[in-house]
Structure formats: C-alpha cells, structure tokens
Amino acid sequence: MDPGALELSQFLALAALGFAAGAIGTLVGAGGGFLIVPALLLLHPEASPAALASTSLAVVFFNAYSGTLAYLRMGRIDPFAAVLFALASVPGAVLAALLVRDVPRGAFDGAFGLLLLAAGLAVLRDPLGRPRPSAPVEPLVSALRDEPGRMRLGAIGSAYISVLASLLGIGGGIVHVPFLIRALRFPPHLATATSQFVLAATAFAASATHAAAGTLAGRLDEILSLAVGVMMGAPIGAALSARIGGAAIVRALGALLCLVGVRLLMRLW
C-alpha cells in the first residue's frame, strides 16, 4: 500500500477488519493475528509473506501491549513465568522474522491454511477451551521456579511457539494459551494474561527485526489503521466474553477458520 495514499474508505475498511479481529480474537482468548493474516493474504494476493507477517505482528504488538498493561494493573500476570517465557522466546522470534523473508508465498499460504484448519477443528471440538475436570483449582505457577523440568518445558515450548508465530505473523496466543493451561497446568486466567505479556515481547522483537530489515517500510498507514480497530475491538470482545456464553459464536468462528483454511489450501492447486 502506498504510504500517504490511504483514503478514508480504506482506513475505515482496515479499521473494521482490525475491530473484528480484536473483538473475536479476544473473545476466544487470542490476539487476533490469526484473523488478520488470512484477511491480508486475501486482500494482497501478490504481497510477500514477510510484508504480511510484519504488518500483522506490528498490529499484534499494539494489541498485546495494551492488553498487558491492563492485565498488569489487574495483577493477573505471573511475573517470573512472564519474564522467563518472554526472554526464552525472543531469540526464536528474531530468527523467524529473518527466515520468513526467504519463504515463498505458496508455502506460506499452505502452512497458514493448515494452521487455520487445525485451529478451526480444535475450536469446533472445544469451543470455549474450558479446563479439563482434572485441572487443578489452585494456581501452581508459584512453584514454577522450583521445578526445573516444568520451567524448561515452558521455556522451550514458548520458544518454539514464538518461532511458529513469528514465521506466520500471528501473535501465537491461540497456541500458547492452551499450551500453558494443558502442558504447564496454568489456571486459565493466569495463562491468558501471562501469554499476553509474552506475546507483546515477542511481537515487539519480531517487529523491530522487520523494521531493521526494511520490511515495514511503507506499511505504517495500514498498520495504524488496523491497530486502531484492534484496540477498539479488544475491550468489546472482553466484555462479550464476560456477558455471553459464546459457544455458538466461537463455533461459528471455528467453521469460518476451517473455510478460510480450505480456501488458502485450494490456492495451491
């Protein structure tokens, strides 16, 4: 998109896309990057994966940053786990931001299509991601630093998730939150908040890498338009998630993810 050439209609369309991504993403406990990237893939059929991933990651950063500030004020972030997972994830996020510049568009579309299909099926199977009956009620994160195995599992898992997320241009919350809940036994409220902190750090590191490599040049208008929408939509999603059951909406989202995933995979043939 030509910088400075953004018309009001384009701004409104991008802000509306960001709003939907922010609201729906927050409703299902993610940052919205997994909705922004496929929309950008369909809007910009000729753009490079690096350009699309860098745009989405910058938007994700704005959203995760504002979410992190809110969660910090609420005391919902476990500081040790957040700093541990964020610092463990940054090198992988930087490497992936460099690697995505070498990824051909067809492979990117295919990988993203598969991810969406998998995420859609997972959402359809377990719409609200409720913890299993065996999940502990008491938070166990305070003991994380005294359990080297669990600490390393969290650090390595978070690091690989950040590689995947940075490669695909998503924040990674859609994978990281279930990982924290199911593999590390985090209570859901701490998992979503701690994941936001990690996501903000890795999205910042990846965006800074893209900015240094010149990938973000000329995309500021698009990023800011999307970011405005996302930051307006996220609180709406949070409010909706507290007021409605949401299972039907999330099932519809799962079906939508599957459809977009199939659509992207079909472009390979």
Binding site: M74, G75, R76, F80, V83, L84, L87, A88, S89, P91, G92, L95, A96, L98, L99, D102, P139, S142, R145, P148, M151, R152, G154, A155, I156, G157, S158, A159, Y160, S162, V163, L167, P188, H189, T192, A242
Partner: protein
Amino acid sequence: MTPRTLALTIAALVVPALWGWLFPPLLARVWPRRPPDAPRPPLPDYEI
C-alpha cells in the same frame, strides 16, 4: 534453498531448545525469592 535460508532454518530449530534449556536456571538464580513467611498476594475473583 540458499545457504542463508539453511543456516536460519537450522538456527530456528536448534536455538529455542538450547536457549530454553540453559536460560531458565540462570533466571531462577537471579530472580528474588519471596521470604517464606511473606503473605501470599490474594488472587482476584476472576471471570474466565
């Protein structure tokens, strides 16, 4: 696949495991520990 792509791919596969294995004990060593008799901060009543 260029040598740059290959090097970055290998690094992206190896570095997370290596760093994720080495880094946590280092952070745990420097992270301030809560005194055993300190009261636990109350957790708010969440709506998830």
